[in-house]
Every structure is written in C-alpha cells, then in structure tokens.
C-alpha cells in the first residue's frame, strides 16, 4: 500500500511540474506558485486560478472558479469523516489532504487500513506535489517566452486531461458539452474569467428537474 501511495505521489508530482511552469507562464512569481501548492493544494482549483489570472481575468473571478472546483472536496470530506473517524486536531491535517486521490485510495483500501491509505497517499502527494511545483516554476522562470514554448497550449490540455476520466456517462458528457459551449459563447460579452463561471450554469437544469 505504501508503494501505491508513493506511486501516486510520483505521478501527481509530475503533474505538479506542469502546474509550476504554467503558473509562472501566467505571471505568478516562483514564491506565489509555491505558496499556491502549499496552501491551496487542490490540482484543478490551482490550475483554474492561474489560468483565469493569466488570461487577464479579475482576481475575484479566479478565486470563485477555484472555490467552485474545490466544492467536490466537501463531498469527499463527508465520506472520509464517516469512514476514517479521525478526531481532534488531526482532522485539521486530514482536511488539507482531502483530494480525489487520497479519497479513492481510502475507499479502495482493505478494512482496517483505510486510515493508513488516506494519510500515506495524502502525505506522499503533499511532498511530491510541492517539490514538483518548485521544479516546474524554477524551470519556467529560466526558460523564457511561454508562448514560444507552447505553455499556453499546455493549459487547456491539462484541463482536458483532468476532465476526461470524469466523463463516464451521457449526463456528464452533456454537462461538459453545455459547459464548454456556454463559456465560449460568453467570451465576447463578459470580462475574462467570467466565461468559466458561466460554464457552471450547465448544471442548473439538474437543480430544477428531478
């Protein structure tokens, strides 16, 4: 299990290298990129924040995008609180490492080992994620023009790679298509950053219809 945790940590660390590079290409300093990984520590939210800031969106639009993407962690945390029964101050640590990967590993772990799986995966990812960010940010800071390196094309590819595993059924495909088109249609009419929030409206029909 510890080997699995380390394997996931290495894979997400590689992903963090691209976050560090993209963050610096979007105009963040190396300390800002590293602080984002240390404190925010949620892949999709981090990418969304720097993508919105980098495309000229307001800080508020960036923060809102990050929060909307981070809301699924609340669902994971409810599940983990029920499964792991962590008490006291350790919950403050458990909260920070509540992610797609740590949740998935805890759910898949044999009975009795759920807590080990959760904390080992979370800790491995935390260390390697921040190491990867530092490497990527330093690399991009020394490499020069982000567009010449194609880093602006790396951003949508990163979002696509995050999105693809979640497209499991017809509803998720429909929501993705609607979100993508709504956001594109909004681009000419609203400030940068806002189209992404408008994409969120794709789930509204699910709220009104049973």
């Amino acid at each position: 299990m510890l080997r699995n945790a380390l394997g996931i940590g290495v894979a997400t660390g590689a992903y963090a290298v691209s976050f560090g590079a993209v963050a610096v290409a979007a105009g963040l300093s190396v300390p800002q990129a590293c602080a984002t990984s240390l404190l925010l520590f949620t892949g999709a939210s981090q990418f969304a924040l720097v993508a919105v800031l980098g495309s000229g969106g307001t800080a508020l639009a960036g923060v809102l995008s990050a929060l909307l993407l981070g809301s699924r962690n609340t669902l994971y945390a409810v599940r983990m609180a029920d499964l792991l029964r962590v008490r006291g101050p350790r919950r403050l640590v458990a909260a920070q490492i509540t992610l797609d990967e740590s949740t998935a590993m805890a759910i898949a772990a044999p009975a009795g080992l759920e807590r080990t799986a959760f904390f080992a995966t979370g800790a491995a990812i935390y260390v390697l994620w921040n190491l990867g960010t530092l490497l990527g940010a330093l690399g991009a800071a020394h490499l020069g023009d982000p567009a010449a390196l194609g880093l602006d094309a790396a951003v949508p590819a990163a979002f696509l790679a995050l999105l693809a595993p979640q497209l499991r059924d017809r509803t998720s495909l429909r929501v993705a298509a609607a979100g993508g088109l709504l956001a594109l249609a909004a681009v000419p009419f609203v400030r940068p950053g806002v189209p992404v929030l408008i994409a969120g409206l794709a789930v509204v029909p699910l709220l009104v219809r049973r």
């Binding site: 800080a59 094309a153 979100g179």
Partner: protein, 100 residues
C-alpha cells in the same frame, strides 16, 4: 485584489470547504439533489476552461496553435497517455507550429 490576495483567499476558501465536510454530519449531503450537481459542477467548469483556454482571446475567439495542441492532447487522452505526456505533447505541438 493582488495576486497574493487571490492566492491566499482561494487557499483559505478551499481549505474551509474541505474542513466543512469533515465537520458536517455524515447524512448532511446524502441527497441526490445536492450530490449530483456538486459532482457535475467540476465537469462543467473544466469543460469551460478547456474551450476558453483554447479558443479565447481577450473578448474574442481565435483559432491558433493552441487548437492544434488540444487536438493532439485529445488523441493522447484517448490513448490513455499519462498526464504529463498529454500536457507536454500539446505544448510541443504548439511550439513547433509557431516555429514554422
């Protein structure tokens, strides 16, 4: 709002969202009307990020090397390439197109 405030505010907010889940009673979100939209919301936002970051310019749409990068990335995703390979292929494609 500066970049630093955005980073700190988003961090505080996302941590609060995680901590909230750890303190809610386990039945709190046990309701399909909450769960389904909450799980589908990231899908809508990620799809919006894909299209806007590929075709968006400031208040306009644009077809450039990023679209070619995304097309290559889509093929890589279908072939189940690892994350870093997908991202690197998109970047290399766009960079090469801009060279020629």
């Amino acid at each position: 709002m500066s970049t630093w405030s955005a980073v700190l505010l988003a961090s505080a907010g996302c941590y609060a969202l995680k901590l909230l889940g750890w303190t809610l009673p386990s039945r709190a979100l046990d309701n399909a009307r909450v769960r389904r939209p909450a799980l589908l919301l990231p899908i809508a936002l990620l799809a919006g990020l894909v299209t806007v970051q590929t075709f968006g310019a400031s208040r306009a749409l644009d077809l450039d090397a990023r679209a070619a990068g995304l097309a290559v990335a889509a093929v890589a995703v279908l072939l189940r390439a690892p994350f870093l390979v997908v991202v690197a292929l998109a970047a290399v494609t766009a960079a090469l197109l801009r060279l020629v």
